[in-house]
């Protein structure tokens, strides 16, 4: 059984301009010890989906349907107490900007101790030893426990945030754009750290990222989100090497590789649609270079091969589309369409 399985989850934001369907019937599952990437452009609902798993969603957000099954318990319907018991002990979070997510007025060590004693039930002596162990694990000198967050460099803050996330040996870690705020060299170091720790501790990890190269580097599986829906999901190597959804093909062209960045980058023209009033039918259709009449209807997320599913009417022509998609001109033709 999967450690986490999100089934048909819908989450809406109630705003003054209307109801934004940020997550609209998304499904995703994470096996034990598996690293799953959640990719898409900003505003596609990936962060919202990931944060829903932590149980902390913005005040204006409502879960209107679906399940989040974690270790046999549905977090959507679970009581506050039951859900709270899992927080940080079973499911922890590594934020994008460690600067804003560490409390500026407490020493980093104090913030670690808080979690270890308040949530881990350790006494101070044990907690101190554990804090030192955690810092060693993420490669920060133990003496830096006495520093305040603003005294850390960006990379160190991110490491500290990882240490904080691993403090109570959770089963699942959700990392929201864990390296986006860092410069390239440090990005690589932090990704290596995540990979090493994931293997040593056989963690399950969800990595939210807009950067497909991060997925290629770290993930076993990947789910591609577009406009609140999962449009393609499968083994990472599969999805990246042989994408079936035109959006995935487009994303692949849009990002540099961590390994080889000589490839010419072509952004997908236009922007994701409004989630308040999304297009009927396939939501990517307005920006898709391969759209056909059929795309006015909404495609289901169908299994194409074992463990690989995509929501597109043209999966049958996928091989041909991939060839065309590799040609930069294909994407340039559509320029200005969805803008």
């Amino acid at each position: 059984m999967a450690l986490l399985s999100i089934e048909d989850l819908s989450l809406h934001y109630v705003t003054s301009r209307g109801v934004a369907r940020a997550v609209d019937g998304a499904s995703l599952s994470v096996e034990r010890g598996q690293v799953v990437g959640l990719v898409g452009e900003s505003g596609c609902g990936k962060t919202t989906l990931a944060r829903a798993v932590t149980g902390v969603i913005p005040r204006s957000a409502r879960i209107v349907g679906g399940k989040i099954m974690f270790d046999g318990m549905d977090l959507v319907t679970a009581s506050r107490r039951d859900a709270n018991r899992l927080r940080w002990r079973e499911i922890s979070f590594v934020p994008q900007s460690a600067m804003n997510s560490l409390d500026p007025v407490y020493r980093v060590g104090t913030q670690l101790m808080e979690v270890l004693t308040d949530r881990g039930g350790m006494d101070r002596r044990k907690a101190k030893a554990r804090a030192a162990e955690l810092f060693e694990m993420v490669g920060i000198g133990v003496d830096r426990l006495h520093d305040y967050p603003h005294q850390f460099s960006g990379g160190m803050r991110q490491r500290a945030a990882i240490a904080l996330g691993l403090a109570l040996s959770p089963k699942l870690v959700i990392a929201d754009e864990p390296v986006t705020a860092l410069d390239v060299v440090v990005q690589r170091q932090v990704l290596d750290l995540i990979r090493r720790l994931q293997q040593e501790l056989s963690l399950s990890v969800i990595i939210v990222t807009h950067d497909i190269s991060v997925v290629a580097y770290l993930c076993d599986a990947v789910a591609v989100m577009y406009a609140g829906k999962v449009v393609e999901v499968g083994r990472a190597a599969d999805v990246l090497n042989a994408p079936d959804h035109p959006y995935t093909m487009g994303l692949y062209n849009a990002f540099p590789d961590l390994e080889r960045s000589q490839r010419r980058l072509t952004p997908i023209a236009g922007a994701p649609p409004s989630l308040i009033d999304p297009p009927s039918g396939c939501r990517f259709e307005p920006r898709c270079p391969f759209s056909i009449a059929k795309c006015g209807e909404e495609p289901p997320l169908e299994e194409i091969r074992a463990g690989h599913r995509a929501a597109c009417w043209r999966t049958g022509d996928a091989a041909e589309l991939r060839e065309k998609a590799a040609d930069v001109a294909t994407w340039e033709q559509r320029e200005g369409v969805g803008a």
């Binding site: 902390v56 927080r87 979070f93 997510s101 409390d103 007025v105 808080e114 949530r119 603003h150």
Partner: protein
Amino acid sequence: MEYIARRVLYTLFVLWAVASILFLMFRLMPGDPRAAFIDNTFTAEQQQLLLVQFGLDQPLYVQYGKYMVNLVQGDLGMSFIYKRPVVEMVMEVLPNSLVLTLTSLIIAYAFGMVAGAFLARMRGTWVEGVTIPVVLATRAAPEFWLGMVFLAIFSFSLGWFPAGGASSAGITYDSFWQQLVSPDYWRHLALPVITLTLYLQGLPLLLMRSNMLEVMEDEFVTMARMKGLSEWSIVMRHAARNALLPVATAFALGVGFSISGNVVIETVFSWPGIGRLLVTAVSSSDYPLAQGAFLFITVVFVVANLIADMLYAVLDPRVSHGSAG
């Protein structure tokens, strides 16, 4: 350290400037400066004596030099009317002002912070809709008018509190400390404190509320929730601790501002403090006393500003602990 040194220097600079302005004001105002403080019923002989006594027969720069030297030595001259050293008179009433101000400020800030944090949680409810205009009205009311209304109701009409002064007729104290612990003193203090507290509580309340609203949206508060910390920890240990920074600064500033604003409240309640001393000195053209009282108020005001700055540095590690890469 360098920051504090700079702030101290700056404070000294302001003090020097204010003292100089005061000197010039009392001597360079249009008209004969003597007219301001020498009654024309005095004989020419008496006038001449006074001129010599205050050094006014000397050139201006000599006067200024003497004035500054005396000031540094803590000598503010003699009261013209009471014939007593100004410093002594000021020191006699300063404790009353400080007791009034600090008591009111502490109550006002304690209440304001709790109420402000509470109102932040009540955001968007009818409680907020009713409370905020009321709080704003207390900020808009002249404090002496609040005092007048309270006097009319609680003192004259209901007879709950004495109508003014700091002690009942016939009561004397051997020391300030004896006075401070006497119930009679506190009975006199009550109404001024209530008035001042009502006037002062609006600022910390509104400040705390808006800070809380802002901090509660901060990512580290969201993180605290994800960690599953208790609501108490989230609100008090993380949100309130951060929202408190500007309020603490406002408190220190408030000491200065309300000492300076005390001139009216002390007058309404005939409270023997430094503000009332200034007003009576100015009214009776007791120039050395007025100058001395004003300088003392300035010192308290400027030093309170200095403390506010330093307090911020102490409370905010981002200032007190420089970044060490």
